[in-house]
């Protein structure tokens, strides 16, 4: 890449207004190294003074070919790539991919593994929303929010380290169950978190929700109507803040979500402040699910005993010849999956995280496509920032909660 390619206005002629061609409005680059773009996102802005006329997002700076790489690995080994997708939601990505694999090969998951998955995915949702709350506070100069949010997030990452040995790249949820049972300290660690966290959410809300400076920056900007949101494929909290009650955990329960009692917060305003309120409310709802799941966490195995697809436990390998053979076959060759395709979706902190998986009869997938929610949520940005100030753009971008690893894949 030694050459520098020159970009002319001709290439963007169809995306900017006519006034840009005469030089009446200004074209300005925001990013890719701008602190408020939450990663490496470049926005080409057409500005009339300080007002945004057009916004052209430019993505792909973090493209690492995850989908291509997954095609070259066996089903189990491809799972580690999913951690690198949306690095704020690693457990959720694992779950989405693993659910697609389980649907393709038709393997059941024992109840204890299902409950553990729910606990960990909901903790991950809290952690992800905390990063969003902290960074969007930081964008609006509420510096202390960032420090408080990361304090609680650290506690969740410690729980992940306890169960999987890793803070972020967990790969803990595996096809057929989870990697191994949680250690005895797990319950106390989660109970400690459940005990302190409601008070911490109250603290966040004291700092922000009624804060006049915060309200001035958040209310009445970035309106997203229901129709636009649906047409652009916006899902998750951003869709629910526009008055659509759609949550895959309620609509199509998976992993036993139907047993838990929780609400799906919705707002009808559709502005930046509504998206903030929905996410803060989701923190409380997720905590409710974690508590219920922990209270009725059943005993029993954490992995399916279908040895054709799921590796046997370590303790069996020393005493059983069949287990050794299964272990060896599964980790070298992998398991064959049928020549068919499945689409399976979960509710990630950002919206519908879908996995399209097609097998070709062999041990490696023919095609893996991740329908990542940030990609489609960012697509609507150019529509909802028109006519607002550049300073508002920062708040609007923060409110749709993008993760660039999720967009660029």
């Amino acid at each position: 890449m030694s050459q520098i390619e020159e970009v002319s206005l001709e290439q963007f002629k169809h995306l900017v207004s006519e006034r840009a061609l005469t030089g009446e409005t200004m074209l300005l680059n925001m990013g890719p190294q701008h602190p408020s773009t939450h990663g490496v996102l470049r926005l080409l802005l057409e500005l009339d003074g300080e007002i945004v006329v057009n916004c052209i997002p430019d993505i792909g700076f973090l493209h690492t070919g995850i989908e291509k790489n997954m095609e070259a690995k066996t089903y189990q080994k491809a799972e580690v790539m999913t951690d690198r997708l949306d690095y704020m939601n690693t457990m959720g990505n694992n779950l989405a991919y693993v659910m697609a694999v389980e649907k393709l090969i038709d393997v059941d998951v024992p109840p204890r593994a299902q409950a553990l998955r729910v606990i960990l995915v909901e903790l991950q949702r809290i952690a992800s929303h905390l990063v969003w709350l902290g960074t969007s506070g930081l964008d609006l100069a509420a510096m202390s929010m960032f420090l408080y949010c990361f304090r609680e997030r650290e506690q969740i990452l410690d729980i992940f380290e306890l169960v999987s040995g890793q803070r972020m790249m967990t790969t803990y949820i595996r096809p057929g169950g989870v990697w191994r049972d949680v250690p005895v300290e797990f319950e106390k660690a989660v109970r400690d978190f459940i005990k302190i966290f409601p008070k911490r959410i109250d603290e966040y809300e004291t700092l922000l929700t009624k804060n006049p400076l915060f309200i001035d920056r958040m209310v009445d900007i970035g309106y997203l109507t229901k129709e636009t949101a649906l047409s652009y494929g916006v899902t998750g909290p951003s869709l629910r803040a526009s008055g659509v009650d759609w949550d895959l955990r309620k609509a199509r329960p998976y992993m036993g979500y139907e047993q838990y009692d929780f609400n799906v917060p919705t707002r009808t305003e559709g502005d930046t402040y509504a998206r903030y309120l929905v996410r803060v409310q989701e923190l409380r709802e997720s905590l409710k699910i974690v508590e219920q799941a922990l209270n009725k966490l059943p005993m029993g195995p954490v992995r399916s005993d279908n040895r054709k697809f799921v590796p046997p436990p370590r303790s069996e390998i020393g005493v059983s010849m069949e287990s050794l053979i299964h272990h060896f076959k599964l980790w070298t060759e992998g398991f064959p999956a049928p020549k068919a395709s499945v689409y399976s979706a979960v509710e990630s902190p950002r919206g519908e995280l879908g996995v399209f998986l097609e097998g070709d009869g062999g041990p490696k997938p023919l095609r893996v496509h991740m329908r990542t929610p940030s990609f489609d949520n960012l697509g609507v940005l150019s529509q909802i920032v028109k006519g607002y100030l550049v300073a508002d753009l920062v708040a609007i971008l923060a409110s749709i909660d993008i993760v660039l690893g999720d967009i660029d894949r």
């Binding site: 792909g60 499945v342 689409y343 519908e352 489609d376």
Partner: protein
């Protein structure tokens, strides 16, 4: 198949002659490239499929007729249903019409098809590459595009490999 899906499948079969497949309760309907805009419009306006969840492609290389299946995964929020439309496309000049006017979400996902699979999208409002840089040769997600790797450098061949690296060619 879900009982509520039956009339929708029947409507598409009678109107477009769509064939259908089923796997693990998922319904896949096959339509021709020129019918896709009408089929999606029908599903959105008359059967409440408000959301286009995913738009992607599978490459069946070396098979060439059809080489690609373009996949439209639709969700109905009102009826809580899903249906998948598949459009087989030949390998010699892969081409599908744009569905941006039906679902605005298709804009970026179709740019991804152009970029990653080299499928021409007729009538697309903004047919630039989306993830790869402008000027990239080839389409990375095609099966005949090599995965690629970096040669490992050791002490004895460090300089030799260094000369072959792109940054050394200034």
């Amino acid at each position: 198949m879900d009982k509520k899906l039956e009339p929708i499948v029947k409507a598409l079969q009678s109107k477009f002659g769509a064939t259908f497949e089923e796997f693990r309760d998922e319904v896949h309907l096959f339509v021709k490239p020129e019918q896709i805009v009408d089929a999606l419009t029908l599903l959105r306006d008359e059967h409440n499929f408000e959301l286009l969840s995913a738009l992607t492609t599978v490459d069946y290389h070396p098979q060439s007729t059809p080489r690609f299946h373009v996949i439209y995964q639709l969700t109905s929020l009102a009826k809580n249903l899903s249906v998948q439309l598949r459009v087989p496309v030949n390998g010699d000049s892969p081409k599908v019409p744009t569905v941006t006017r039906v679902y605005a979400m298709a804009n970026w996902r179709e740019r991804e098809l152009i970029d990653m699979f080299g499928i021409e999208v007729e009538g697309h409002p903004d047919p630039r590459r989306i993830l790869m840089p402008e000027g990239t040769e080839g389409h990375p997600l095609r099966k005949d595009f090599p995965l690629g790797y970096e040669e490992p450098q050791f002490t004895f061949n460090f300089d030799e490999i260094d000369l072959r690296k792109p940054y050394a060619k200034e």
